[in-house]
Amino acid sequence: MENGYFIRPESCEGIVEELDCLESLLAELGASFVRRHSFIGTVYAVVDEEAVGKLEERGYFVEPSNELRALYRGASQPSQ
């Protein structure tokens, strides 16, 4: 099953070449979506669990992306 993960090189955070290399690897692993967050040296990708294992084996730090929700309560009372 595919999920979204944040992936970054353990050693050299934010080095452009490292991220290029990571993106190539993600393409090889069949990632269905890839987005680079350059300012924190991290790549977000949607991959399966097998790919996560391979990324971790190669020394990448991998953590799951979470769902965020709007923080309001109660019914609205439109008053026009």
């Binding site: 300012f39 991290t42 977000y44 979470n66 609205s76 026009q80």
Partner: protein, 393 residues
């Protein structure tokens, strides 16, 4: 018919008669008619012969339509010759009323308790947030809303869900939040410039990756304040790192403390120093029972029964720490506009009104836009007030 019902019916008839009389010849009028629910389709087709249908309501047996002055007169007196078919289709004819937001005699809207409570009206005498950019990272914003249309420039922001630059709200939450930040009458900083960064969907949920991309957009576009009225009990170190880097680069991040009501962490509010975490209080400055109590809470702001802009040009009342956070974003915008030197985060906490001793519940206290602006213009002003108070004590 009971007396009360009779009086109401009489009022409706008078309203209809008056509306028709006030309608200029050649002008049009919107009518609401009650129809037989079992013959609704037939009634609609008859009405179409007299005017333009506006709404056929599913949940009630009413239809609204627009017609010209002459037909409105005839329909109101359905026994008049030529309207016999219509008279069989209709049960009751009423004029559609026009609703307005309340106004005072000076032409301004009535004072809103939440803005009074934080001293926003006084603060707006000295600053409006002019030149300050606030990004509402949320469900999008209805930027055609009369409260908000003047706040947006050519660039509206970005929609990270649909990957386009039309971040329109389809939930209502973001429009409400934006109205509190900078609405013309309902907002704290009506002179500021707004950007809508849409990453929460119609149901109010979204991914961390899109939230991070929104923060990145703020850095790339010189945004001063990012309002984040959303959260989760879990967060990645990537999002924490994003907030840290953004704060280090001068972006003021304001987040809602969470609505779980207990001693729970909600992220990004609980990320610590990089994010200003805002708890909610009610109109009596009491802790809102739903507002999270956590060590990272920085300040409190009104979050119960808050009226602001909503979808389709309307207004709505909502509760939540989502509503508290934009009071702080707006106050920070006012202060930054006039801040001579120093950190706005320090200024925010130093000028809070003490409303309780429990830091995990209230943070440093209630945000006070008036004190922030006064202190930003003249550093030491509120320190002096405190000193005089302590001597008097």
């Amino acid at each position: 018919m009971k007396n009360a019902d009779y009086r109401l019916e009489l009022k409706r008839r008078n309203h209809l008669r008056k509306s028709i009389e006030e309608c200029r010849p050649g002008g049009s009028l919107e009518l609401i008619v009650e129809v037989d629910g079992r013959k609704k389709d037939r009634a609609v087709s008859v009405i179409e012969g007299f005017g333009k249908i506006r709404h056929v309501y599913d949940f009630i047996d009413y239809v609204s339509f627009e017609c010209d002055f002459r037909d409105a007169y005839g329909i109101a007196n359905v026994s008049t010759r030529g309207y016999s078919e219509l008279s069989r289709a209709l049960r009751r004819v009423e004029a559609s009323s026009v609703f307005h937001a309340p106004k005072t005699v000076e032409g301004c809207r009535v004072e809103l308790w939440n803005l009074s409570c934080i001293g926003a009206y006084e603060a707006r005498g000295y600053a409006s947030g002019a030149g300050i950019k606030i990004a509402v990272i949320d469900t999008g914003v209805d930027y055609s809303h009369p409260e908000l249309s003047g706040r947006f420039g050519r660039v509206k922001g970005y929609d990270f869900i649909r990957s386009n630059d039309e971040p329109v709200d389809m939930n209502g939450h973001g429009t409400h939040v934006a109205g509190i930040c900078a609405g013309t009458d309902y907002g704290v900083a009506p002179g500021s410039t707004l950007y809508s960064l849409r990453f929460l969907d119609e149901l109010g949920s979204g991914s961390e990756s899109d939230a991070i991309a929104s923060v990145e957009w703020c850095l790339e576009n010189g945004v001063h304040i990012a309002n984040m009225s959303f959260g989760s009990s879990l967060a990645s170190s990537a999002f924490e790192q994003a907030c840290y880097v953004a704060a280090e680069n001068g972006l003021v991040l304001v987040a809602a403390a969470g609505n779980d009501g207990g001693e729970y962490a909600s992220y990004p509010a609980a990320f610590g120093e990089s994010v200003i975490a805002v708890a909610a209080v009610d109109r009596y400055k009491r802790h809102a029972e739903f507002s999270n109590m956590f060590i990272t809470n920085d300040v409190s702001a009104p979050g119960v029964g808050i009226e602001s802009s909503y979808l389709g040009g309307s207004y709505a009342v909502l509760d939540g720490t989502s509503m508290a956070a934009p009071h702080v974003s707006g106050s920070v915008a006012l202060a930054i506009e006039v801040l001579a030197s120093g950190s706005v985060n320090d200024l925010l906490e130093r000028t809070c009104e003490e409303i309780g001793y429990d830091r995990e519940v209230f943070g440093a206290g209630l945000v006070r836009a008036d004190r922030m602006v006064a202190e930003a213009v003249k550093p030491g002003f509120y320190g002096l007030v405190d000193m005089i108070k302590s001597i008097a004590w």
